[in-house]
């Protein structure tokens, strides 16, 4: 059973979102997503200062068996990326909700967060996918 922290919000495409104290939004992929992908070998992140729209591609995660696009859960500007992943993509596998975060966004409209799934709904989604 994969971990689904209750305080986070989730997208249908398996990204998680955490509201940071400084008003920024941190984005990563879920424990379920990393488990499905298997060992990551490469993470391609967006350029800092680029603008992204909710639902648009913002990067790629590549594992030994597949490559998958990362979609931005909300609209805004990329303000920081997790540089540690260039050398250690396995951080996403080891700690998807912590050291394996992907990028931080300055959100354009915080109300977009309400459109994302809460932990219970995401758990339903994962279960439905498993069956």
């Amino acid at each position: 059973m994969s971990q689904i922290p209750s305080e986070l919000r989730y997208s249908k495409s398996h990204e998680w979102v955490r509201m940071d104290s400084d008003g920024l939004v941190i984005v990563g992929i879920t424990d379920h997503a990393q488990a499905l992908l298997g060992d990551l070998v490469y993470v391609e992140l967006p350029e800092v200062e680029t603008a992204v729209k909710a639902g648009e591609e913002a990067g790629v995660v590549e594992s030994v068996k597949a490559a998958s696009d990362i979609y931005s859960p909300i609209s805004g500007d990329i303000v920081e990326i997790n540089g540690a992943l260039a050398a250690k993509p396995e951080l996403v596998n080891d700690d998807p909700y912590g050291l394996g975060w992907l990028f931080k966004i300055a959100p354009e409209d915080e109300s977009e967060l309400d459109e994302l799934l809460d932990a219970a709904s995401y758990e339903d989604l994962v279960e439905a996918e498993d069956h």
Partner: protein, 454 residues
């Protein structure tokens, strides 16, 4: 690998297994209006005897005699062993096997090829080849646009000394992808690109600079200066190079302070006969930082569970069978047979052998230029240093001169006076290691006669 076609019984069994009665039924979903039932202009099949006769007649149309034409395809000596080995049944397939890892021999050849090409170019990585030199440049351009994330312009500066066919191919490939090409004029005196003409682009967002070495006129570009200029503008550098020349000249990986980012070109000079223009193969190599943007197959060396050496496809997540529409290219194929020949060719010659070939080409072309420019009415077109091809100015119409030479069994070079050419009455001449002193003298004598108008 034997070729065993399906028997009628095999086909029948397979159709029965999926519940279809005729082979044609498999195409049922294609609407009738889109089908072509008979191909116009395609004659009925010929028997073996008629086909042999037809091919003999066609072969007679091939020009014979001494060839002094280069212009992108070069006549080199190919040791007899090269194609004897390359056409063995085990290699005689032009395609990447789908069950790749089952074909360890094929993968090992490709791995050796990649190692040789990367070494020759001074680059980190090579793929398993592309269709030809011009399409390799097209892929290099797309690669540069994906890789240069500082640049938003999708604008490539292209040296005006690049082979015109390569420019056309590049245009065809990039024009539908919102990538623009800007041609840099060359210096009429030296025949190469001067740094000064780049000044207007200094404030612009340039994605990559395409440099040809040697260039189409045979002249050597100042690759260090051009590479450093491009890198100062945050532009990537794509080198289009002749692989034989790279045995002698500074390899792209060493250009300027940081080296070119991508090196590509035509692999034909490495053991592939001229054969009326193909099939040839394209090569592409790059710095490690760009490997995920490289198209095509890459073979890696690894060990199996028992620690034994083996070869496998690697970095496949770039390719279309995994990345679908997001793949680096729709090209996953390579010119397997031509590459096998090139690998054997390079292995037989060795690095020193290839260097000797390059030196002999250089010496022959310079000796020829000396003989020809001693003839009244023949002069060097450019002052820039050249490698194994040289552009000459003639005081008589080039086409007439070439016709006259052909009557004496000499293919005297490639005319640079076609429509749209910036030059008038210029002739591009090449003498590879295949030419003897007597050959050069014969050419000079024939040309001298023609220049006098005899």
């Amino acid at each position: 690998m034997p070729y065993i076609p399906h028997t009628k019984e095999d086909v029948k069994e397979m159709l029965a297994a999926i519940g279809v009665s005729r082979l044609q039924d498999l195409f049922d979903e294609i609407p009738e209006s889109l089908r072509i039932h008979s191909l116009e202009g395609i004659p009925e099949g010929l028997g073996e005897m008629e086909t042999a006769r037809l091919m003999e007649d066609k072969a007679k149309q091939d020009a014979r005699g001494l060839c002094f034409i280069g212009a992108g395809a070069y006549e080199h000596h190919i040791p007899a062993a090269v194609w004897k080995v390359a056409t063995r049944g085990e290699f005689m397939t032009a395609y990447t096997p789908y069950q790749a890892e089952a074909s360890q021999g094929t993968l090992q050849v490709l791995y050796e090829y990649q190692t040789m090409m990367a070494t020759l170019m001074g680059m980190d990585v090579s793929n398993a080849s592309l269709y030809d030199g011009a399409s390799a440049l097209g892929e290099a351009a797309l690669m540069a646009v994906r890789a240069n994330r500082h640049s938003k312009s999708k604008k490539l500066l292209v040296a005006g000394t690049l082979h015109p066919h390569y420019v056309q191919t590049l245009q065809s490939i990039v024009e539908t992808q919102n990538i623009s090409l800007e041609m840099i004029p060359f210096d009429k005196k030296t025949g190469c690109i001067q740094k000064e003409v780049l000044a207007p682009y200094e404030k612009e967002d340039i994605t990559a600079l395409v440099i040809s070495q040697p260039n189409f006129f045979g002249v050597l570009e100042e690759v260090d200066v051009l590479t450093n200029w491009a890198h100062e503008q945050n532009a990537l550098v794509i080198g289009v190079v002749n692989p034989v020349a790279m045995a002698l000249l500074k390899e792209p990986g060493q250009w300027g302070t940081k080296g070119a980012d991508i090196a590509c070109g035509e692999g034909q000079p490495l053991g592939i006969p001229l054969s009326s223009g193909g099939p040839y193969f394209g090569f592409i190599t790059c710095k490690e930082a760009l490997v995920r943007q490289m198209p095509g197959r890459i073979i890696g060396r690894t060990v199996d569970l028992e620690g034994k050496e083996g070869f496998s496809l690697t970095l496949q997540a770039r390719e279309q069978h995994i990345r679908r529409s997001k793949a680096t290219s729709n090209i996953c194929t390579n010119q397997g047979l031509a590459v096998t020949a090139a690998t054997i060719h390079m292995a037989l010659l060795g690095f020193e052998g290839l260097k000797k070939v390059a030196k002999a080409c250089y010496a022959n072309t310079h000796a020829l230029a000396k003989l020809l420019t001693a003839i009244p009415g023949v002069s060097l077109c450019f002052t820039g240093p050249y490698f194994h091809e040289v552009t000459l100015n003639l005081s008589r119409p080039v086409k007439d001169v070439l016709k006259g030479l052909l009557k004496e069994g000499i293919q005297g070079g490639f005319p640079l006076c076609e429509e749209g050419s910036p030059l008038e009455n210029a002739l591009l001449v090449c003498a590879t290691e295949t030419k003897t002193e007597e050959d050069l003298k014969q050419f000079a004598k024939a040309l001298e006669g023609l220049m006098k108008g005899v």
